[in-house]
């Protein structure tokens, strides 16, 4: 009894003192920033027609059908529209580069939500996941890695009262847990609904989806859908992967494999179905499970760049007590993410 109590308090201590998957969520932030940036950039030429006040959804109609808020409602002036759109680009770029810290991320979310709602017909599951997950990232230390060094943020951080700063780690861990639980929910729900579908049961769903013109890559898709074995294996493989993803994540030994499988799965979706933004958003969220691997990759890269070594390692040790040694770097992130297992299991 006493031992198990001690065990629980140890775990609580660990949970409130050691930030988990810092590199992973930083990667998530970079990639989500990039996808957000590309949402603006890839539609830059068409922006006036798709999002503008005199475009395909005129300002008055847009205001009538809006749910929630959008900064684009405030004025019907084309100049105002250009201003908000370009501010959105700047905010997304700042998030990707790691400038502006979490307040910058909140600004990015506001602008991104606004442009999403300006033309909701364009959205897919990836955009949905992005706007759900960014508020969770606001809880985390997602600017501790892959960020351009800016003195201002750390100077501001030092002004925050001590008892508030003490909450930073548990909030960080909660944020990571929520991202992890959210992505598991996405996979399991989409997997279970597929189990219910006739074509998914028959092993022919891939054949049907890949022929739909909107999701077809001419010259390539037929190589898959005309091959019976690939169709059946691909269909069943997709369902099995989605349904068992949480198991793959909860067992530490399987975790990198589950995340790697997910990345391959989504890269093929990006290639064959043209859903680049969707695929990269999913991959971004998978990165929270790959924190150890990312740490090792970073160390390897730093080993190749002797010039930046000294300054970088000084900065990380100041940012938090992150282990710089690959052996220990793998361990804490591996153990820590096991702890969310209880709440995640309930979800499934």
């Amino acid at each position: 009894m006493k031992k198990s109590l001690g065990n629980i308090t140890d775990r609580l201590d660990f949970w409130s003192l050691r930030p988990v998957a810092v590199t992973g969520v930083s990667g998530t932030r970079v990639l989500l920033g990039f996808v957000g940036l590309m949402y603006y950039v890839s539609q830059y030429q068409e922006r006036n027609y798709l999002f503008g006040p005199d475009g395909v959804l005129p300002h008055e109609d847009f205001k009538a059908q809006l749910t929630g808020f959008s900064l684009y409602t405030l004025s019907a002036s084309p100049w105002y529209f250009q201003l908000v759109y370009h501010l959105g680009i700047a905010a997304a770029l700042a998030v990707m580069l790691g400038v502006g810290g979490r307040p910058g991320l909140a600004v990015h979310w506001t602008l991104l939500w606004s442009v999403y709602q300006r033309q909701p017909g364009l959205l897919d599951g990836g955009d949905n996941l992005a706007y759900v997950v960014i508020p969770f990232l606001l809880l985390t230390r997602c600017y501790d890695r892959f960020a351009l060094p800016v003195g201002l943020a750390s100077r501001l951080a030092r002004r925050v009262p001590g008892h508030l700063r003490a909450l930073s780690v548990p909030f960080h861990n909660l944020g990571v847990l929520m991202v992890a639980a959210q992505i598991c929910l996405v996979y399991v729900v989409s997997g279970l609904y597929k189990v219910m579908g006739e074509e998914w049961q028959d092993g022919t769903a891939l054949f049907y989806i890949m022929r739909v013109a909107e999701f077809e890559l001419p010259g390539w898709s037929h190589l898959v859908y005309e091959n019976d074995a690939l169709v059946v294996l691909g269909t069943y493989g997709t369902v099995a992967f989605l349904v068992y993803f949480p198991v793959g994540v909860l067992v530490p030994a399987l975790r990198p494999w589950a995340a790697a499988a997910s990345i391959c799965f989504h890269l093929s979706i990006a290639f064959f179905m043209g859903l680049t933004g969707f695929a990269l958003t999913m991959i971004a969220c998978d990165l929270v499970f790959l924190s150890g691997a990312l740490d090792r990759a970073l160390l390897w890269v730093r080993g190749r760049l002797p010039g930046s070594r000294a300054s970088r390692s000084g900065r990380t040790s100041q940012a938090d007590a992150a282990p710089a040694d690959p052996a220990t770097a793998e361990r804490p992130s591996g153990e820590n993410t096991t702890q969310p297992s209880a709440p995640q299991a309930e979800l499934v």
Partner: protein
């Protein structure tokens, strides 16, 4: 997180009781929809044809106004254009209905009873989508009628692709369903 999970569950007793309250809490900022090509994957090509009535009284042929958007998606694999989704989102609105209503109507069809007529909100969504599609079609056809278009009519088509069992049959073409919507005055669209 439990609420998010409940919102994603299939229609069940708990969802019938608590679903609205949960949706109130999650929507719109944490709303979720993760069915992603399930349970029934897409298996048809959908699109919109449009024709115009000119000021001189003549009526043009039909033009496929959705094909260009689809071509734009297919021509790039790196963040392709999403313009085609304007059409597909409206078509989705026109062809799908809320799960509970869908089941009621399915039951009525099976029992050969009169169908529940569209609810007021369904009519409003439909009208919005028809207007949206007509406006898009009008914008895609700037040159017809020498620019003097008075009215525009859209025709939705759903081309069901041949099923798996006929995959080796080159003569299999699949059914095409067509639905014409009412003429819209261009003055109301722009």
């Amino acid at each position: 997180m439990t609420m998010a999970a409940l919102s994603q569950a299939p229609l069940n007793p708990a969802k019938l009781v608590y679903g609205d309250r949960v949706a109130e809490y999650l929507d719109p900022y944490f709303s979720q929809n993760w069915q992603l090509f399930a349970p029934t994957p897409l298996s048809d090509d959908r699109g919109v044809l449009a024709r115009a009535a000119c000021a001189d009284g003549s009526v043009t042929q039909y033009y496929d106004v959705s094909a260009r958007g689809v071509q734009k998606v297919q021509s790039s694999r790196f963040f392709p254009s999403r313009e085609n989704r304007i059409v597909s989102a409206h078509l989705q609105n026109l062809t799908s209905s809320e799960e509970l209503l869908r089941r009621i109507r399915q039951q009525q069809t099976n029992d050969k009873k009169p169908l529940l007529p569209p609810l007021p909100y369904e009519k409003a969504t439909e009208a919005d989508s028809i207007e949206g599609l007509s406006r898009y079609a009008y914008d895609q056809l700037p040159a017809v009628c020498d620019g003097e278009t008075e009215r525009i009519q859209i025709r939705m088509y759903v081309h069901e692709l041949p099923p798996w069992s006929k995959r080796h049959d080159p003569s299999a073409e699949g059914k095409v369903l067509v639905h014409d919507f009412a003429w819209q005055k261009t003055g109301d669209l722009r």
